[in-house]
C-alpha cells in the first residue's frame, strides 16, 4: 500500500532524512517512533505532500505520488491527516466538520457517510455541537472521523494522543486501533511514546537522526533490537561491560561480571575477542539468594504489581535495572542474590 524507497528530504540547507525506506501493507497500522528531532514529522509531512523530496520515491497503491521529478499536490492525494491538536474548524459543528472533505458528493451521500462515521465513533448525539463543547477524546474522534470520511488510502496521525489525558491514552489507543482495523484503513502514526506505539501499531519503525534504525514488530524491537540505539530506546534496560570471546570453530560466548552466556557469532579459524556491551532488561533476572552474584539495592520505584529496583554490582561497579513482583519489597541497601536468565543475548 505505502512504499517509501530511498527517501531523502532536505529543508533549506539541512538534510533531514537520509535514505529511508519502508513499506506498509494494506490494512496495517504502522508507526514512526523516535525522539524529538529524529525527522519523523518531516517524513509524515512528506508522505502527506507538504514537503517535496530531494531523492527517492513515495508510492501509494502503486502510484508514485512523490519523487525527485514529480510531486502530486496535497489536495490531489488521497491521504488523510489527523493533526496533533486536531485542528477542528471552530465555526462548524461536528457534523459539518466531518463532511467537510465530502464537498464533491451529493447531500445524500454526505449524510449517509456522516451517519456511518458518527456511529463508528459513537458521536451520534454530538453531531450538532461545536468543537469547543466536546472533551479532548471526543474531539480526537471527530478529527479521525473527518479524516476518514473521504475514504483515504492512507491515514496519517501526528502524535494523536499527546493532547489527551495520559491515563486515558492506553484505552483510547485501543479504541482507535479497533476503529481503524474495522474500517480496514492503512494508517501510519508518529509518536515519541513507546506505549502508544506498542498498543496500536503492527509494525514500528524506530527512527534516529533521519534514518530508520529498525523496522519490525513491537516484540522484535523489544527482544531483538538490531542496533544499540534501538536497544537503548525501546523498553528499559541497561548495558553491562562484556567481552566476547570466540574460540576457533565455535559460536563463542560473552563474559560479563554477572555471568557468561553463549552467543551466535560466525565461526572463525583463529580465536579472537572483542569488547561489547550486553543488554540486560529488567525482566531478565531471577532472584536466587545463593547465587554467586550479589547485588545491593540502591534505588526502587513502586509500580503497583512490580517494583523496579536499581541494583549495583559491587565488584564491577555497574548498575542494572530489575523488575520484580512487589511482594518481595526489598529496601534500599539490602543485598540480593540474583541470576541473569537471558532469553535473547543482545550485545553491541
Amino acid at each position: 500500500m505505502l512504499k517509501l524507497e530511498n527517501i531523502q528530504i532536505a529543508l533549506g540547507e539541512k538534510q533531514i532524512i537520509h535514505d529511508v525506506s519502508l513499506s506498509l501493507a494494506s490494512g496495517d497500522i504502522g508507526c514512526l517512533l523516535g525522539p524529538s528531532g529524529c525527522g519523523k514529522t518531516t517524513l509524515l509531512r512528506a508522505i502527506a505532500g507538504f514537503i517535496p523530496l530531494v531523492a527517492g520515491t513515495i508510492r501509494i497503491q502503486g502510484e508514485t505520488v512523490s519523487s525527485s521529478q514529480q510531486h502530486i499536490d496535497v489536495t490531489q492525494r488521497k491521504v488523510g491527516v489527523v493533526f496533533q491538536d486536531f485542528a477542528l474548524f471552530p465555526h462548524l459543528t461536528v457534523g459539518q466538520n466531518i463532511v467537510f472533505g465530502l464537498h464533491k458528493q451529493t447531500t445524500q451521500q454526505q449524510q449517509a457517510r456522516l451517519t456511518e462515521l458518527l456511529d463508528l465513533t459513537q458521536l451520534t448525539d454530538y453531531a450538532d455541537q461545536y468543537p469547543h463543547q466536546l472533551s479532548g477524546g471526543q474531539q480526537q474522534r471527530v478529527a479521525i472521523a473527518r479524516a476518514l470520511a473521504p475514504r483515504p488510502e492512507i491515514l496519517l496521525l501526528d502524535e494523536p494522543f499527546s493532547a489527551l489525558d495520559p491515563s486515558l491514552r492506553e484505552s483510547l489507543a485501543l479504541d482507535i486501533k479497533t476503529l481503524l482495523k474495522y474500517e480496514g484503513v492503512t494508517a501510519l502514526l508518529i509518536t515519541h511514546d513507546q506505549t502508544e506505539a506498542f498498543t496500536i501499531a503492527d509494525k514500528i519503525a524506530v527512527m534516529n537522526d533521519g534514518h530508520i534504525e529498525q523496522y519490525a514488530s513491537a516484540y522484535d524491537l523489544y527482544h531483538e533490537p538490531k542496533t544499540y540505539f534501538v536497544a537503548n530506546f525501546v523498553g528499559e534496560g541497561r548495558f553491562i561491560q562484556g567481552r566476547v570471546v570466540v574460540a576457533p570453530n565455535t559460536h563463542g560466548g560473552i563474559q560479563t561480571a554477572l555471568g557468561e552466556f553463549a552467543v551466535h557469532e560466525e565461526p572463525a579459524l583463529a580465536e579472537y575477542e572483542k569488547q561489547a556491551l550486553l543488554l540486560v532488561r529488567p525482566d531478565d533476572f531471577v532472584v536466587e539468594p545463593t547465587s554467586q552474584y550479589q547485588v545491593t539495592v540502591i534505588g526502587r520505584a513502586f509500580r503497583g504489581a512490580h517494583i523496579l529496583y536499581t541494583f549495583r554490582h559491587a565488584d564491577s561497579g555497574q548498575d542494572v535495572l530489575c523488575l520484580l513482583p512487589s511482594h518481595h519489597d526489598y529496601q534500599v541497601g539490602t543485598a540480593v542474590g540474583i541470576r541473569l536468565e537471558l532469553e535473547h543475548v543482545i550485545y553491541f
Partner: protein
C-alpha cells in the same frame, strides 16, 4: 455567648457583602466611566423631549428621505468597498508570496494617515485640473472613503488571517479543498468577527463624516444636522437628527456584536505542541507553487491600491505644498505641528487607558451589562464632532457656572472657566468620540487571551494586577499599540470638535487645512494637509514594526 455569636455572624456577613461590593468595583467603575462618557449622548436623547411637529413635518416633506437614503447608501457602499478591499488585500498579503509582499504589509496601512475630506479635495482638484470627470457624487464619496477607510478592515483581517492556525489550511488541503474554497469556507468565516469589526468602524466613520459630503454637496444626516443647526438655528431639531444618526450606528454595532456572539474562537485546549511540527510547518508554509503571472497580478493589485489611496494624493499635495513654500511662516508652522502632535499623543494614551479599563471591567465583572455599558459609551463615535462638541459645551458650561458660584461662596471671587474652553473639554470630546476605536481593539486583543489563563494565574496566588502586568500586557501589546495608533491618527485628523472646543490661540493642522480648503484655497491647504499625512505615517510605521517584531 449567644450575643457574641450573633455579632460575629453579623460582622461576618457584613464583611462578605463588603467584599461582594469590592468584587464589583469593576462594574461600578465601569458604570461611572460610561455614565460620564454618556453625557453627550444623554444630552442628545434629552433633546427628544422637545419635539416640534411643524419642523418635523417640514423635514419629512423635504429632506428627510434624502438624508436617510444617502446616509444608508454611503454607509453600505463604504462598508462593502472597504470590506472587499481590506479582506482581499489581507488575504493576498498573508497567503501568497509575491514581490514586495513584506513591504506592502505595512505600506497598505498608510491611507489611515489621510483624512477622507482631504483625499476628496485633492482628487477633485486633480480631476478638475486634468479636465476629467467631476468626481463630486455619491459614488465618488463612496470610492474615496473606501480608499481611506479600508485599512481598518485590512489591519484586523490581517491579524485574524495570520493568527489562524496553519493547520486548518493543511487539514483542508488533505481533504481536497483548494485554497480559494478554503478562503470562503474556513478562513473568512473564522475571521468574520474581526472583519465585521473593521467594516463597522469604516461604516461609522462614513456616517460621521462631514467634510467630504459637505464638499460634494451630498445631503446626508451630517450635512442635514449642520444645516438644521446653522441654517435654521434649531439646535433641538439638530440634536434629534443626531439621535437618528446614532440609531443607524446602533444598528451597525448591534449587527456586528450579534455576529460575534455565537462564535468563540479561542482554542479550547492548551496543547503541548510538538516543536518540530510547528517549526517545520511554518517553514514550509508557502511551499505551494504559483505561476509567475499570478504573482505579478498580486503585486500589481497591491500597488494600484496603494497608488490610488495614498501615493497619488500625497504626491499631488506635495506638489501643491511645495509651490507655496516661500510664503510659509516658520514659527507659526512649528507651533501648529507641536500642538497637533502633543494633543494627539496625550489623547491617545488617555483614551487607550480608558478603553483598557472598560475592556477589563467587562472581563472581570461577571455581569453582562458591562458589555452593554461599553457599547453605549462607544456610541459617541456616531455623533458628528460638531454636535458632540455642542453636547459637551452645554453641560460643561453649566458645570463651570456651578463651580464658579461655589468658588465665589468660598473665596469671594470667580475662578473663570475651568472646563469649557480648555483642554479638558477637548479631551473629553475626543474620549467620547474615539473610545469606540480603542475599545474595539482592546476588546479583540483581550478576547484572544483565554479566560483559562486568568484562572491559571490566579490559582498560582498572584493578584489581578500582577496578572495584567506580567501576562496580559505582553500579550496585549499588539492590540494596545494598534488602538493607540488608530486614536492618535484620528485625533490628528479630527476637525469639527477641535474647531469649536479648542482654547484660545490653539490651532491644529487640521483646523488650518480646513480653513484654507473651506475658503476654496486648496493649494494653500496642501501644506498643513501634507503635514497631517506625514505625521500620521510615523505611528503607522511604528505599528507595523512592532507587529513584525512579535
Amino acid at each position: 455567648m449567644a450575643i457574641t455569636a450573633v455579632f460575629t455572624s453579623l460582622g461576618h456577613s457584613f464583611v462578605t457583602s463588603i467584599f461582594a461590593v469590592l468584587r464589583d468595583t469593576w462594574f461600578v467603575s465601569a458604570l461611572c466611566l460610561c455614565a460620564l462618557l454618556g453625557v453627550p449622548i444623554i444630552a442628545i436623547l434629552w433633546s427628544f423631549t422637545d419635539i416640534s411637529v411643524p419642523l418635523w413635518t417640514h423635514l419629512i416633506e423635504t429632506n428627510l428621505s434624502l438624508y436617510i437614503g444617502n446616509s444608508l447608501l454611503l454607509a453600505l457602499g463604504v462598508g462593502i468597498g472597504s470590506g472587499v478591499l481590506g479582506v482581499s488585500l489581507a488575504w493576498c498579503v498573508t497567503q501568497y508570496e509575491f514581490w514586495g509582499r513584506s513591504w506592502f504589509q505595512w505600506a497598505l496601512l498608510l491611507p489611515l494617515a489621510m483624512p477622507a475630506y482631504i483625499m476628496a479635495y485633492t482628487y477633485t482638484g486633480l480631476f478638475d485640473d486634468l479636465g476629467w470627470f467631476d468626481s463630486r457624487s455619491l459614488i465618488g464619496a463612496i470610492a474615496f472613503m473606501s480608499l481611506v477607510l479600508y485599512p481598518y478592515v485590512f489591519m484586523l483581517a490581517k491579524t485574524a488571517f495570520s493568527g489562524q492556525q496553519q493547520q486548518y489550511q493543511e487539514v483542508a488541503a488533505t481533504l481536497g479543498v483548494t485554497r480559494s474554497a478554503y478562503f470562503l469556507k474556513i478562513a473568512l468565516p473564522i475571521a468574520r468577527p474581526a472583519v465585521l469589526t473593521g467594516v463597522a468602524l469604516a461604516m461609522m466613520e462614513a456616517l460621521a463624516d462631514y467634510g467630504t459630503v459637505a464638499f460634494f454637496g451630498i445631503s446626508t444626516f451630517t450635512t442635514g444636522i449642520f444645516r438644521t443647526w446653522f441654517g435654521m438655528g434649531e439646535m433641538q431639531l439638530a440634536s434629534q437628527l443626531a439621535g437618528g444618526l446614532a440609531l443607524f450606528v446602533l444598528v451597525v454595532l448591534g449587527l456586528e456584536k450579534h455576529s460575534r456572539r455565537n462564535m468563540r474562537f479561542y482554542q479550547t485546549q492548551d496543547l503541548p505542541v510538538n516543536k518540530d511540527t510547528s517549526a517545520r510547518a511554518r517553514s514550509t508554509k508557502s511551499a505551494s507553487v504559483q505561476s509567475s503571472l499570478s504573482r505579478y497580478a498580486l503585486s500589481a493589485y497591491c500597488l494600484s491600491v496603494l497608488l490610488l489611496a495614498f501615493i497619488i494624493p500625497v504626491t499631488q499635495l506635495c506638489v501643491w505644498a511645495l509651490s507655496t513654500l516661500e510664503h510659509i511662516d516658520v514659527t507659526e508652522y512649528w507651533t501648529l505641528l507641536l500642538n497637533s502632535f502633543s494633543l494627539a499623543l496625550f489623547s491617545s494614551i488617555l483614551i487607550v487607558l480608558i478603553a483598557l479599563c472598560l475592556s477589563y471591567a467587562q472581563r472581570f465583572a461577571k455581569t453582562k451589562s458591562v458589555g452593554y455599558l461599553t457599547q453605549f459609551a462607544a456610541l459617541g463615535y456616531a455623533i458628528p464632532g460638531t454636535v458632540l462638541a455642542i453636547g459637551i459645551l452645554q453641560p460643561f458650561g453649566w458645570l463651570d457656572e456651578q463651580l464658579n458660584y461655589l468658588w465665589y461662596q468660598w473665596f469671594g471671587e470667580y475662578i473663570g472657566l475651568v472646563f469649557s474652553g480648555t483642554f479638558v473639554a477637548l479631551f473629553f470630546a475626543y474620549c467620547v468620540r474615539f473610545l469606540s476605536v480603542a475599545v474595539h481593539n482592546t476588546q479583540t486583543g483581550l478576547e484572544r487571551i483565554k479566560p483559562h489563563i486568568d484562572d491559571a494565574v490566579l490559582t498560582l496566588g498572584r493578584g489581578r494586577l500582577s496578572l495584567i502586568r506580567r501576562i496580559h500586557f505582553p500579550l496585549l501589546r499588539k492590540s494596545l499599540l494598534a488602538a493607540s495608533i488608530l486614536v492618535f491618527v484620528d485625533v490628528l485628523k479630527e476637525l469639527p470638535a477641535t474647531l469649536i472646543l479648542r482654547p484660545f490661540n490653539f490651532n491644529t493642522l487640521a483646523v488650518k487645512a480646513f480653513e484654507y480648503a473651506a475658503d476654496e484655497r486648496l493649494i494653500a491647504a496642501a501644506m498643513p494637509s501634507v503635514t497631517i499625512v506625514i505625521i500620521g505615517i510615523i505611528p503607522v510605521i511604528m505599528l507595523t514594526r512592532a507587529m513584525q517584531q512579535n
